[in-house]
Amino acid sequence: MALVELRNVSKIYQLGGEEIRALDDVSLDIESGEFISIIGPSGSGKSTLMHILGCLDSPSKGTICLDGVMIQDASARQLAAIRNRKIGFVFQFFNLLPKLNVTQNVELPMIYSGIGSAERKKRALAALESVDLVNRAKHRPSQLSGGQQQRVAIARALVNDPKIIFADEPTGNLDSHTGDAILTLFRRLSQSGRTIVLVTHDPEIAAVTPRRIEIRDGKIAVKVDLTLAGLAGGRRNPDGAEPPKPA
């Protein structure tokens, strides 16, 4: 069974009398360990898809099975728990809490899963180490560069050891050099066995991922599966190394 199974999912917004199909009958499987990009022009429904996959939003129609649990009808409380334990998000605008320092930002998901303070510190530090930011642990987000902030966000996404990481335009607010560094980081994570879904409108960025899903007007247009062509970086793990458990 796939890690994520999306079946005939639609998201329909009613605006006035008009019906906007942000997602229209989408079916999709994501296997554990995959590195996927979702690509498409602006307004095509990429973010909507990602939000539904990431349990931030519920579909109007269709079913989703995440890690063996059907979530289309889950309560807000259950969705929060799933987001907390199984999912990590990285956003275009970093979305760090400005009043907390770097460590506290990384600790945030663990606070909601009720982990003790000593354990939190340890795991936050390990996560920061994996994004190479230990020396900035006490800084405020406003004291960091965009690339550094995004790395903090990635550390936060990793810290609860999620099943899957969603990144919505993670390089959209960065210059190309810094963006490349972030992509390299994702590739490294993928190589160590993480499941990552990358949302982007940039084909060049999508090119780093072995599998690409293109969305147009809320529908999946083309599926390009390069894994069979052996170009994969992420799906298999040649060294057999375990994913870094920040614990």
Binding site: L56, A81, L96, L108, I111, N160
Partner: protein, 451 residues
């Protein structure tokens, strides 16, 4: 999210917006300060009233009062005998449940003179020695009246220190305590010898102040003496008691009453008969006994009534309850206003943190944890406000005491503080409920997209 953490986060939030939070708290601070201050003032009043009651003779004193005859006896009204010595003798002989019976015959419009100095006593009455126990007097100098004084209607009197102060000078003015026993003063031009003087009656606080003043160097005392008149400092009940002058009952009768009143007919009526019962527990039956006796001496005309200190106490308590009620309502309103302020600021605060709430929800915050977070923040504001309010109330009471000194200094009670703090925390919770609910219900996506 553990409670402790939530409180810390709440405190931080308050600290980041120090000024704003302080302004918000101000409502609560003022509310708590006024509640605690108000109840302190009322407590002081209560103490003063209780002190006054003791000054007036204690809780077991019963006043036999003159009363209008009941409606069905109206045709007998002009035959009503009033309270006379006949009643006193009858009660003494046939009402064993009464312990002390103290008749008083007042002399009206009295002016005391000694040389150039004059004084107006609060009361000038002819009494039996029973009055000392009845009104809880303590004779400090000299003696009280004897049987012989009574028998011979001797021109002797016992005075309170207030009269001494006015006719001979107070210790504060003179610098030493004058004991005028043996001196002669005039009561409405009749010479009387002072045979005794009571102690100085005063409240706890005045006593302390006076003793403190004694320790201070002389030159301070040499300044203008503090006005201790009716409007000034000091409990009126004590002032009144200090301005008492007593003479033997017979003296009052023979030298003032019998000598002819305005229209020349001697008035044998007493101005007061005070009773003390053997046992307060048997007050009812004692009064019934007294009533039976008096019905006889009054030939069945019920022109008298009893006023117990219980009634007095009840009316004091009623006054205190009223004061508490109105004080409480005012304080509650100001706390309510404080609560509205908190709600307002919490709404503003969550509005500017919608994105943050979205982020927290994205990483796994449940509605409940957002809810408690906001609620605790609002409680933190209220609690801090309450604590500052309690501190402020001490200052408030101080200032009040300086601006409007009264004999009954306000007393801050722990009970009032507890109630005020608990109430404001309650207000904080109620004020936080709606903003907390609003924050908890935010949809994560809408919150994240909020600009």
């Amino acid at each position: 999210m553990p409670l402790f953490n939530t409180i810390i986060v709440g405190l931080k939030e308050v600290w980041t917006h120090k000024f704003r939070s302080f302004l918000t708290m101000l409502g609560i601070i003022l509310g708590v300060a006024s509640l605690v201050g108000m109840s302190a003032i009322i407590k002081g009043m209560e103490n003063g009233m209780k002190e006054a009651m003791v000054a007036m003779g204690g809780a077991d004193k019963v006043l036999l009062e003159q009363q209008d005859v009941p409606v069905e006896q109206e045709h007998l009204a002009d035959q009503a005998p009033g309270r006379t010595m006949a009643d006193v003798q009858a009660l003494k002989q046939t009402a064993p449940l009464l312990r002390v019976i103290s008749p008083e015959m007042g002399v009206n419009n009295v002016l005391l003179t000694r040389g150039e100095k004059t004084a107006m006593p609060s009361e000038c009455v002819g009494v039996w020695p029973a009055v000392v126990e009845m009104n809880m007097h303590t004779l400090e100098h000299g003696r009280f009246f004897t049987e012989i004084d009574e028998e011979q209607a001797s021109p002797v009197c016992v005075i309170g220190t207030g009269i001494r102060d006015e006719l001979f000078g107070s210790p504060e003015q003179v610098g030493r305590e004058i004991v005028p026993v043996g001196e002669i003063i005039e009561i409405n031009s009749q010479p009387f010898t002072i045979v005794g003087m009571f102690e100085r009656y005063e409240g706890e606080r005045d006593k302390k102040e006076r003793e403190l003043a004694k320790l201070k160097p002389r030159e301070e005392l040499a300044g203008p003496s503090r006005q201790r008149g009716w409007g000034g400092k000091g409990n009126w009940a004590f002032q009144r008691k200090n301005m008492t002058i007593y003479m033997p009952l017979n003296t009052a009768w023979i030298r003032f009453r019998a000598a002819g009143d305005k229209d020349g007919i001697p008035d044998p009526r007493l101005s007061d008969i005070d009773l003390k019962v053997e046992d307060l527990g048997e007050l009812e039956s004692a009064l019934q006994q007294a009533r039976n006796v008096l019905m006889l001496t009054h030939r069945g005309i019920e022109d008298f009534g009893f006023r117990t200190q219980e009634n007095q106490l009840e009316s004091i308590n009623q006054q205190i309850r009223n004061a508490r009620m109105s004080g409480g309502v005012i304080a509650a309103i100001s706390l309510l206003v404080g609560g509205i302020g908190i709600m307002n600021i919490m709404l503003a605060s969550i509005n500017e943190r919608i994105r943050e709430i979205g982020i927290c929800k994205a990483v796994g915050a449940t509605g409940l944890s957002v809810f408690t977070q906001v609620l605790i923040e609002s409680m933190v504001i209220a609690t801090l406000g309450a604590v500052l309010g309690v501190v402020a109330s001490f200052g408030f009471v101080r200032i009040l005491d300086m601006v409007m000194p009264t004999a009954n200094s306000p007393v801050i009670t722990p009970g009032a503080m507890l109630i005020a703090v608990a109430f404001s925390i309650g207000v904080g919770i109620v004020a936080g409920l709606f903003p907390a609910f609003k924050a908890a219900r935010l949809h994560p996506i809408q919150a994240l997209r909020y600009e």
